[in-house]
């Protein structure tokens, strides 16, 4: 699928969003959040096959988009309209900031290309130099760390065991949780599922669990209509 190939070109969720904004010829300062969220989620679905680390970041953004969408829906209390902050503001700020650097990096890329066409003189008479074992130029901290790192490799088994960071939630756990949550009902809203959950990792893993359940055909996910919450339905 052509989408699949394209996906790998995105440097992250912000990059993907900028792409969608450009594709739809949308004003970045006035993003139709429902449309973008829908298209974004379509890409996410296609991403299931990609590596988890990447997916985690993309899924986190999906959560943010859905949150913004939900906020847009909330009936505004009797506060004057101009006093309510547009829920999109923060995201727009990030997109505009990221866009600046994306452009700057393409400028750097063209500088790099130009520099690849010129070559400095490379031969230097050894007799005016120090003894051969010496390294070029001044050392940086990183040089020292690298050398230390290399040196340590020669030492028999490390004294301190590697500490593997324990992840306190797994996709399997969250899948079981979702199934349990839906035991007595045939559908639930995504917002219910993650109610009160502030830990990013749990949100991400919950999303992954939903994707996994979708893949296994145990649930379907749908949006009933524009500006609605995200529903998970049992099959």
């Amino acid at each position: 699928m052509s989408y699949q190939i394209k996906l790998e070109k995105f440097e992250g969720p912000l990059d993907l969003l900028l792409f969608l904004i450009k594709e739809n010829e949308i004003d970045i300062y006035d993003i139709p959040i429902a449309l973008i969220t829908k298209q974004y989620l379509e890409y996410i679905e296609l991403m299931q096959t990609l590596d988890l680390e990447m997916a985690g970041e993309f899924i986190l953004m999906a959560a943010i988009l859905i949150q913004i969408k939900v906020q847009t829906l909330l009936p505004s209390p009797s506060v004057a309209a101009e006093e309510i902050e547009d829920p999109r503001t923060e995201l727009v700020k990030r997109l505009v900031e990221y866009q600046k650097f994306k452009e700057a990096s393409s400028a750097l890329s063209s500088f790099e290309e130009e520099q690849r066409k010129i070559f400095p003189r490379a031969f230097f008479d050894a007799t005016v130099r120090d003894s051969e074992g010496d390294l070029e130029g001044e050392f940086t901290l990183f040089d020292m760390i690298s050398v230390f790192h290399e040196a340590l490799k020669n030492v028999p088994p490390p004294l301190s065991p590697h500490s593997v960071k324990k992840v306190d939630v797994t996709v399997d756990q969250r899948m079981a949780y979702i199934i349990g949550f839906m035991k007595d009902r045939d559908r639930c809203a995504f917002s219910e599922l993650i109610a009160g959950e502030a830990r990013k990792l749990v949100l991400i893993v919950t999303f992954l669990a939903i994707l996994e359940l979708m893949k296994r055909g145990q649930i379907v996910v749908r949006q009933r209509k524009l500006y609605s919450d995200f529903w998970i339905q049992r099959r």
Binding site: Y98, F101, L108, R116
Partner: protein, 183 residues
């Protein structure tokens, strides 16, 4: 060796020094070595005269100003020939992730990892390691406060790699213009 009667003596000395230097040679270093009250305008006029001669004589190299110094390099037209000599040895281009990351560091330095990730929206651990390995960035200390995270900044090699004289030569960041900014 020490006496210099005029520009005629000075020019080949400056040429020889730039020729033998394996890094861009700064004006400060040139002044230190040549002594005799050598000043910036003298250096610049010698370099300009040398480049004029090279052009007239059809030399395949020239002196450029980069990373706060002077360096003798091949003209772009001969880049393809030079790269044939180093076939298979030339360094790979930076990935888009690396370019984006080094751009953020260049414009926002010194910056901590989390600051870069906030802008890019993705983790940059591996990219930072690559950039450090390629000497394009350096560790510029630690940020005071909680956790004292490492601060990153660009290196001199960054300037050389991208052909910039000073960090101020980076193009200005362009803001996306808000269409109805007038309201």
């Amino acid at each position: 060796m020490t006496a210099m009667d005029g520009k005629d003596d000075l020019k080949p000395i400056i040429e020889a020094l730039i020729f033998v230097s394996d890094v861009p040679l700064s004006e400060a270093k040139l002044k230190e070595i040549v002594g005799n009250g050598l000043d910036g305008p003298q250096i610049r006029s010698c370099v300009a005269a040398l480049n004029d001669e090279y052009r007239k004589e059809g030399r395949s190299f020239e002196i450029i100003r980069v990373a706060q110094g002077y360096q003798m390099v091949t003209r772009k037209e001969y880049g393809d020939w030079a790269s044939r000599l180093y076939k298979g040895r030339s360094r790979t281009r930076l990935s888009r992730a690396a370019l984006e990351t080094v751009a953020i560091i260049a414009y926002r330095q010194p910056i901590i990892r989390v600051g870069i990730e906030a802008i890019r929206g993705v983790g940059v651990d591996g990219v930072l390691a690559t950039l450090l390995e390629r000497n394009l960035i350096r560790i510029a200390g630690r940020q005071p406060g909680l956790g004292r995270p490492l601060l990153y900044a660009t290196s001199r090699e960054f300037l050389r790699y991208f052909g910039l004289d000073r960090i101020e030569d980076l193009p200005t960041l362009k803001e996306v213009v808000r269409p109805d900014a007038s309201q």
